[in-house]
Amino acid sequence: MSDPFSTAFSMIVSGDPAFMEIIGLSLRVTLSAVLIACLIGLPLGAGLALARFPGRSITIIVFNALMGLPPVVAGLVVYLLLSRSGPMGSLALLFTPTAMIIAQSILILPIVISLTRSVVEDLWGEYREQLRSLGASRLRAVPTLLWDGRVSLLTGVLAGFGRASAEVGAVLIVGGNIAGHTRTMTTAITLETSRGELGLAVALGIVLLTLTLGLNAMVWFAGQWARERLG
């Protein structure tokens, strides 16, 4: 087994197009899933925090529980939905990056919803009187509360990103790990492990962690910069 660190380093500097394609696809799939989950989950989570309706507790419990949804189960459900013999078969989405984005969005959505609900509920408890006195209805308060809780929410979004980028069960089932089409960092690691290329598999793992680290650092420093400049 060759030294995985030097292998990882030479993979990054070599800029091999096939390898870059895998990195690019991983990032695009995961970031798309995070974006979709946020577009749906932030308003839904905030709504869940502020709205009062029968079955609200059950809904909250269900979304909390879904944070533990096994990726392979999410993958299987999306597979059965998108399969040609399934209800959405005519869309021809199985074994495409879009199918992977759908599966990962489903995986992250409960995290975004539950964390948003928790953050917004706390803020609402804190600022309810103040917002009410300013004439803000619950609905009008949503954007304000979301913005005010942005730091806590960002941590939730990063947790979602982490879950998606580290996940292999769902993307393997709905993407099929097709070379040059649906092969991501995690499915490539699985493949190299099964070929007994353990050094290469570890090297890919190092690259994936480095990417995740870099992205988290970017978010962190962008936050710092924004705070300093726009305080």
Binding site: V29, L31, S83, R84, A141, T144, W147, N177, R195, E197
Partner: protein, 299 residues
């Protein structure tokens, strides 16, 4: 965005500065967000864009053994160069690959379990089965050979010796072609494998070999995967050469009569190429360390 500012400003007109509620509406920070959002949108847009631009392709369900052996990386570029058709390989166990075909999720299946293949065609899921190539299974195991396979020349007897010695044996246990071959051998030996020595991994060929290395255990593997496997540890090839270890691969076009969206034309082009002299030569030309992995046998 600008509209949102005015809206929020409306919430707290008397409170422009100081309080946290109002800080939210200072315009520069929003424009930063706008820029960030735009950046993310640029980053995530491509998967949708590239999808619209895909050229001709077919999807083929094949086995982990052919994918892991590296065969496709050798032959597919030749086919794609000749025809302009991209082949997308989904590597699964034979049982799963046939199920994917039955559901109509792939255009072609390329697998190695003759009985299941014939049943697939007979049930009307496939058009016809064609011989493509073969290799053979081998039994690998710990270098010390605790079950003593060295002096045995019959595959069923070799399996019986492993069971007799209760030497650890790692089985695929996943309804794959290799697993089917293993079960045929146990049946021929008149043995129902069970006990602490029999490890059903339920995973692919490579994962099973990785486990066999660690235990260490015996395992039945196709020669192609074994030759390309890079983590052999103390495992060695201990038994080979019985006719029962013959491992033929067949290719089948999924029946467009059952699944109208199947790309029958391009799928058949791929099959025709594989069994043509060009395809057969490409298969024969794939070697690892000078050793040929698959032997073409199309009629």
């Amino acid at each position: 965005m600008g509209q949102t500012h005015r809206k929020r400003a409306h919430i707290s007109p008397a409170n422009w500065s100081g309080r946290m509620v109002c800080r939210t509406i200072s315009p520069p920070r929003c424009s930063l967000h706008l820029r960030l959002a735009f950046g993310i949108a640029m980053l995530v847009a491509p998967p949708f864009a590239t999808q619209a631009a895909t050229q001709e392709f077919i999807t083929v369900a094949s086995t982990t053994s052919t994918e892991n052996s590296g065969l496709f990386r050798h032959i597919l570029p030749l086919f794609e160069h000749e025809t302009g058709i991209t082949v997308r390989i989904v590597a699964q166990g034979t049982g799963q690959a046939l199920e994917t075909g039955r559901r109509g999720d792939v255009d072609v299946v390329f697998v190695h379990a003759r009985t299941q293949e014939d049943a697939f065609v007979a049930a009307g899921y496939g058009v016809a089965r064609f011989d493509v190539m073969y290799n053979d299974f081998v039994i690998v195991g710990p270098a010390g050979d605790p079950a003593g396979l060295a002096g045995i020349d019959d595959a069923a007897a070799a399996m019986a010796a492993i069971a007799q010695a209760e030497a650890p044996f790692a089985s695929r246990g996943d309804d794959s072609g290799t697993h089917a071959a293993e079960m045929r051998l146990w049946a021929a030996a008149g043995i129902e494998p069970e006990g602490r020595w029999y490890l059903s991994t339920g995973s692919g060929m490579g994962a099973t070999l990785n486990m066999a290395v660690q235990v260490p255990a015996y395992a039945l593997t196709d020669r192609g995967t074994w030759l390309s496997f890079r983590n052999r540890g103390s495992l060695e090839l201990l038994f080979e050469g019985d006719s029962m270890l013959h491992n033929p691969y067949g290719i089948i076009l999924v029946d467009p009569a059952r699944h109208p969206h199947i790309k029958a034309g391009q799928g058949q082009t791929f099959i025709d190429w594989l069994i043509s002299s060009a395809g057969q030569e490409a298969i024969a030309g794939y070697r690892i360390d000078g050793e040929q992995l698959f032997f073409p046998n199309a009629e």
